[in-house]
Amino acid sequence: MPIVTVTTRDGRTKDLTAQNGRSLMENLRAGGIEEILALCGGCCSCATCHVYVDEDWLPALPPISADEDDLLDSSGARRPNSRLSCQIKVSDALDGIAVTVAPED
């Protein structure tokens, strides 16, 4: 099972054992990362699952969809490595990925 390293808003880092086939958002929430509100439950409607992905891992991710891109624009904290964690499916290919919870809007 892949390991995801997540940095929360207080700067603390935690390693989570993630489940393949589920979204990164679901894995973060299952891992007790409460800062990920994910209010819409992962249907790409709210942008409250916003994370920054460690640059080295960006190429390993599925391309950003137009909807995700537009929705990310709603965040004042958007950066080039911003992603909505509900749009990323976890697989072995992401073993070791590092993400940081984006600040609250």
Binding site: A30, G41, C44, D67, L71, D73
Partner: protein, 401 residues
């Protein structure tokens, strides 16, 4: 397959009076969020999270979407898959219904006879669906489990009510191969919350998927159907509060910090009647995850000495078939409706204005307008109608002009 093994029934310690510094009534979105945010904001007192349902807190939106469709399990829709008790030291009290409140003694009374005292009471009891005899409802996990158990033997399904829940259920059930009839008393679906262009668009979409829509129809023969579902709105659960003297009628009245008119009693979510800064002049209730979540945060802030009035732009979403519907703002009391883009392309927006200002947008497969329209609502600038209706002109650019 009920989730009884999750039950954490730890409150029955004989007859002594239990006390919580903060007692939250209702384990839905608002109640669970209040508990988590209190801890996140540094509250260290005792917290009780009491509710009528047996399940751990879960999310309702999937009940008429992926959970009904069987694409998500009960575990998938848990509110926070964390253990409230172990990780957050929140005492869960499931299966208890509050029937009375004594604001002087600061106690609540439960249907079981239990009495619990509180320092502050947070009322997040949501609403109960209006009923039609013999019809299922879609409000709780238990409701949908009952409904799903009957689905295999049902072919012809009648849905009463063309609101969001009825329409979402119609979309799921037709995709499961059911013959769906939808009866709406008004002359269009979504009559209470959206303008006609959206209603007509959705009616056409549902009809194209095989839903038999009957408008202006309040009575239809149930016997021709194997199963009936009513989605005709909710009644706020506020009786114990109003009986205790809290101000309110269709909901319990709260101020900008979500305080009711009773001392040490707060309310949030579907049951809270409030003056919304983005809404009409009269107090309203809002039934949305955004409202439940942001009001809960408002209470948690006030209770931890970091008060911040409730002032969040309302938003809502719905999914039907491959349609992504997103609403931002509140369209109540609009005096003008503009359609931006061609509904035939299945990507457009309905813009609501009041006195020349944009107050809300319904966006269909149109995330960009949803995101950029929020800025127009927040800024309150007046923009020319022709510019707003021009889909080639980004809404963001109108803000700058």
């Amino acid at each position: 397959m009920r989730r009884r093994r999750h039950r954490q029934r730890d409150h029955r310690r004989g007859a002594e009076l239990r006390h919580f510094d903060v007692l939250i009534v209702g384990t839905g979105h608002a109640g669970a969020t209040t508990a988590i945010h209190l801890r996140q904001l540094g509250n260290t007192g005792s917290i009780g999270l009491l509710g009528e349902e047996e399940e751990l807190p879960y999310e309702r939106p999937p009940l008429s979407k992926d959970y009904l469709a069987g694409k998500k399990s009960a575990a998938d829709i848990l509110f926070r898959p964390c253990n409230f008790r172990a990780e957050r030291d929140v005492t869960l009290i499931p299966g208890e219904r509050v029937v009375s409140i004594d604001p002087g003694a600061r106690t609540i009374g439960c249907a079981s006879g239990a009495t619990i005292s509180y320092g502050n009471l947070v009322w997040t009891a949501g609403g109960r669906p209006k009923r039609v005899a013999g019809a299922h409802v879609i409000r709780s996990l238990a409701d949908v489990d009952t409904l799903r158990a009957e689905l295999p033997s049902a072919t012809r399904i009648l849905i009463i009510g063309g609101g969001y829940i009825g329409l979402e259920a119609a979309a799921v059930l037709t995709s499961l191969g059911k013959q769906v009839t939808l009866a709406e008393a008004a002359d269009r679906v979504l009559a209470r919350c959206a303008a006609e262009p959206l209603s007509r668009f959705l009616e056409a979409e549902h009809r194209a998927h095989g839903v038999d829509i009957h408008l202006n129809t309040s009575s239809i023969d149930h016997n021709q159907h194997d199963l009936v579902i009513a989605g005709i709105g909710i009644l706020p659960n506020v009786d114990p509060l109003l009986q205790a003297g809290a101000e309110g009628a269709d909901g319990v009245l709260v101020d900008e910090h979500c305080r009711t008119t009773l001392p040490h009693v707060w309310a949030a979510g579907d049951c809270a009647l409030h003056h919304n800064p983005f809404g009409p002049a009269r107090p309203i209730r809002i039934e949305s995850v955004q409202n439940a979540s942001d009001m809960a945060t408002t209470i948690a802030r006030a209770l931890t000495g970091q008060p911040q009035p409730y002032r969040a732009v309302p938003w809502f979403w719905s999914n039907q078939y491959d349609l992504r519907l997103q609403t931002v703002g509140l369209s109540n009391d609009h005096d003008e409706v503009l359609v931006r883009g061609d509904p035939a392309t299945r990507k457009f927006a309905v813009i609501y204005r009041r006195a020349g200002r944009v107050i809300a947008l319904d966006c269909i497969n149109n995330v960009r307008d949803y995101v950029q329209g929020r800025g127009l609502i927040e800024s309150g600038v007046e923009v020319d109608a022709a510019l707003l209706a021009d889909p080639d002109r980004p809404l963001k650019s109108l803000l700058e002009s």
